[in-house]
């Protein structure tokens, strides 16, 4: 497309681009906000990698646009009462791009690879609970676990749990990250790291009628203004992650639209509960009352977000809405006084030095000054912050008072939000509990929910956990930011997901 476009110069071209597309309409180009790291989802922790690979290598279970589970290579699934055995029925008549038939043995090869902790793959930990993978017949796979793990279905739906061609795994080993072979609607064609990734149509895709585009090209474009320009000059037809400040430029230009869905990333400012003043529940409540969350959404995300009403986001599985947050400075001051901090105290708040990160810090600093808290804000470069946060092996040695962070449960399940962020086992540096919050009721509810595969029982347990955390307020809840994207009008089937990934396998031009 670029060649065609650039061959013709001048205004004549501008007049023609709008109408002269039919011949190229079947090619889709997408600008991503980050560079690709590793093409093998088993060995990556990054959404951009999962997205790119998702057209080539498929999962047993996928997510629909609201993070509900939908069949992909599995047609049905169920968990046993004790949450230790999970059975998947597989789709028949599917073939890998290299001609290998898709069957239980193929799934076993992939699940064994994920379960084998000696592989040192980034996502091995997801399958740490797996004891064995059994294949009673050609189209049935059974996962046997070492201990109950009720969130296993959502773990199998995790965007990294893809099925590679077993032949490719055997021949290429870790080399699959350079040449993916799967069952998806697109075949892997070319990857130039840092520049582009090209996929082409799989003519023999099992879901007949799809795909409807011939070629998909991904460009990693880290500069957001450049992404917008590429969309507006039709070099790409979809921009993954369009910052709020650029959305107006895209919307007013005609021919393009801004898509917006609520995300599942909950932003918080954790209060270090190992520090004396945050041990007092009244102080934590005062902090939440002093911060105007709606104003936070307006200031930080130009209004493109929502105020949380639970520790987890509405699109996360087993979410239960709690009492809405309120802002009441008078009450906050009263609570501070009652706790003996009428004159406030000094704290350090850590965050990142991106422009959004700095806005978050400054906003908090201003809001907390209303209850006489003198906050020193410390914006840090990403890697530096990460090191400072995670390097102290002893929680008691962590020096921050408050820490800004966002967590997105990539399995879409309450377990992978509540456990890393609010369970005692999640205390940093182990996972992401940065408030050093520890509550027996919460820990037990989270464990209870894992001990069963029955959705009703899990829901009841997570309701208890959410209610208790909401009452204890170990963090200042801030915002759930919307995931925004830019799209050319007339393109359908390409959209971003609440978890920060996106889908494009059902792409079609009008």
């Amino acid at each position: 497309m670029n060649v065609l476009k650039r061959a013709a110069l001048g205004a004549a071209l501008m007049a023609s681009t709008t109408f002269a597309l039919p011949a190229m309409a079947a090619d889709l180009a997408i600008a991503m906000d980050q560079i690709f790291q590793k093409m093998d989802p088993h060995n990556s922790n990054y959404n951009v990698d999962y997205v790119a690979a998702s057209g080539v290598v498929e999962r047993l279970i996928g997510f629909d646009k609201n993070m509900k589970l939908i069949p992909q290579l599995a047609t049905s699934w169920e968990g046993s009462e004790d949450a230790k055995t999970f059975t998947f029925k597989l789709r028949e008549g599917v073939t890998f791009h290299d001609g290998t038939p898709f069957n239980a043995a193929a799934v076993k090869a992939n699940f064994d690879r994920l379960a084998d902790q000696s592989q040192n793959l980034a996502k091995n930990s997801l399958f740490k609970v797996v004891d064995s993978v059994e294949t009673p017949d050609d189209f049935t796979v059974v996962l046997k676990l070492k201990e109950p793990f009720g969130a296993m279905i959502n773990t199998v739906a995790h965007p990294s749990v893809v099925i590679h061609s077993p032949k490719a795994l055997e021949e290429l080993g870790t080399g699959v990250e350079k040449k993916l072979v799967g069952t998806g609607p697109f075949k892997f064609k070319e990857w130039v790291p840092g520049e582009r990734l090209v996929l082409e149509k799989n003519e023999n895709y099992w879901d007949s009628g799809w795909p409807k585009v011939d070629k998909v090209t991904f460009f990693p474009v880290t500069e957001s203004a450049t992404r917008a320009s590429m969309l507006l000059s039709d070099e790409v037809q979809f921009v993954h992650i369009m910052p709020a400040e650029l959305s107006e430029r895209v919307e007013t230009s005609g021919g393009y639209e801004v898509l917006e869905v609520p995300g599942i990333t909950v932003w918080t400012a954790s209060m270090n509960m190992l520090k004396e003043h945050f041990k007092d529940e009244r102080v934590r409540r005062a902090f939440n009352l002093a911060v105007d969350q709606q104003a936070f959404v307006d200031v930080v995300y130009s209004g493109h977000g929502v105020v949380p009403d639970s520790p987890i986001a509405p699109d996360t599985r087993f979410y239960e809405g709690q009492e809405p947050l309120t802002t009441d400075i008078e009450e906050a001051r009263r609570l501070m006084e009652e706790a003996g901090h009428a004159d406030g105290f000094e704290i350090e708040i850590w965050g990142t030095n991106s422009s959004t990160g700095v806005r978050m810090l400054q906003f908090l600093q201003q809001q907390l000054s209303q209850i006489n808290v003198r906050a020193k804000i410390m914006p840090m470069e990403g890697a530096t912050r990460s090191e400072k946060v995670f390097s102290s092996m002893v929680p008691e040695e962590s020096t921050f008072d408050m820490l800004l962070g966002g967590w997105s449960p990539s399995t879409g399940d309450a377990d992978w939000h509540l456990r890393p962020v609010y369970a005692t086992e999640g205390w940093i540096p182990k996972i992401y509990n940065m408030a050093f919050y520890s509550d027996e009721t919460v820990d037990k509810a989270i464990q209870d929910a894992l001990n069963t595969a029955d959705p009703e029982k899990r829901k009841a347990a997570y309701a208890i956990a959410q209610k208790q955390i909401w009452k204890d307020q170990p963090v200042v809840w801030l915002a759930i930011e919307n995931k925004m994207a830019g799209r050319k009008k007339g393109l359908s089937g390409v959209f971003q997901m609440p978890d920060g990934t996106m889908q494009y396998t059902k792409a079609a031009f009008e």
Binding site: V3, N45, Y46
Partner: protein, 306 residues
């Protein structure tokens, strides 16, 4: 002269050795843990440790340095921590886009800078001089990401004359080299102007005029040639900087060059890539300095090498 050249070349080896120590120490002294960054923010501690083992980052620092040094001596730059790809092929791929961008940016900015500088010097105090110097101050002061985005909006989005970004064909060089060269052109113009003004006060210029040479010859042959020594030195330095890849311009224009590579490598603390790139930049600088020194002899035959 050949002897001098070879001697200078040999002297580079100990310098590079010292640089290797500094580069290694500095990058490892930076806060930030590559294993944690690669594993991702959401990783559990176990995942991070698995990555650390896989990358051999759990070994003592000295052992890691000796590996780095030993590999480098044999021309092996190691593998990227992030992608596992050999660093040498990553650098080979990123070198040429940056090289061509640097050459184009330097070419137009040198030409513009020299002409604007000489014209300003000759018409000192005139409206043209003020306009030229106003332009150069703007060129130096304008943040180049802003200039780049403006050019992109106008020429790519509004007019559609060239693509926004990336490097697929020669025309893609136009906007980034204008952006990258703007600051250099401004520096060169100001530098040339003051060098020519200085030289114009010299006795030999008065002599040239007195013996009846035409003003054009006086300026372009006698004054400019003698003003060239500091200008060439400056141009060499600028070229060295350009070859290091402009992180900002490369990011804005999605340029697949050394600057983008370095930025990604630093963000992920990809030690192997950062070390190799800094070593390359140092080597480039040293070689350009040497080339500039050799050029002096051609510009001013009075300079002799021993």
């Amino acid at each position: 002269m050949l002897h001098y050249f070879l001697r200078r070349l040999a002297a580079l080896v100990p310098v590079l050795f010292l640089i290797s120590i500094f580069v290694f120490l500095f990058i490892h002294a930076l806060p930030g843990d590559p294993a944690r960054l690669l594993a991702g923010e959401a990783a559990t501690q176990e995942e991070v440790e698995a990555v650390r083992r896989a990358l051999k980052l759990d070994r003592p620092l000295l052992a890691q340095y000796l590996d780095f040094l030993g590999n480098m001596a044999t021309g092996d730059l190691g593998n990227s921590l992030r992608t596992g790809e050999p660093v040498s092929s990553m650098i080979a791929r990123a070198f040429w886009p940056t090289f061509w961008l640097s050459v184009c940016a330097l070419a137009w900015s040198l030409l513009f800078g020299l002409v604007a500088g000489v014209v300003s010097a000759v018409r000192r105090g005139s409206a043209g001089d003020h306009a030229g110097m106003f332009l150069s101050v703007s060129g130096i002061s304008m943040p180049n990401f802003w200039l780049g985005l403006l050019l992109m909006q106008f020429f790519s989005v509004n007019l559609g004359w060239v693509g926004t970004s990336g490097f697929d064909e020669a025309s893609d060089l136009i906007l980034p080299s204008i952006t990258l060269g703007a600051g250099v052109a401004a520096v060169m113009a100001r530098f040339t102007r003051s060098a020519v003004i200085d030289v114009a006060r010299e006795d030999f210029i008065r002599t040239a005029r007195a013996k009846g040479l035409r003003e054009k010859v006086v300026i372009w042959k006698h004054a400019l040639r003698n003003a060239l020594i500091p200008v060439v030195t400056m141009a060499g330095l600028q070229f060295g900087f350009l070859l290091g890849g402009s992180i900002v311009v490369e990011k804005v224009f999605r340029w697949p060059g050394l600057g983008s590579l370095l930025l990604d490598a630093i963000n992920f603390r990809d030690y192997a890539v950062v070390q190799a790139e800094i070593m390359l930049f140092s080597l480039q600088f040293l070689l350009i300095n040497l080339a500039v020194d050799m050029l002096y002899g051609f510009i001013n035959p009075a300079i002799r090498y021993k």
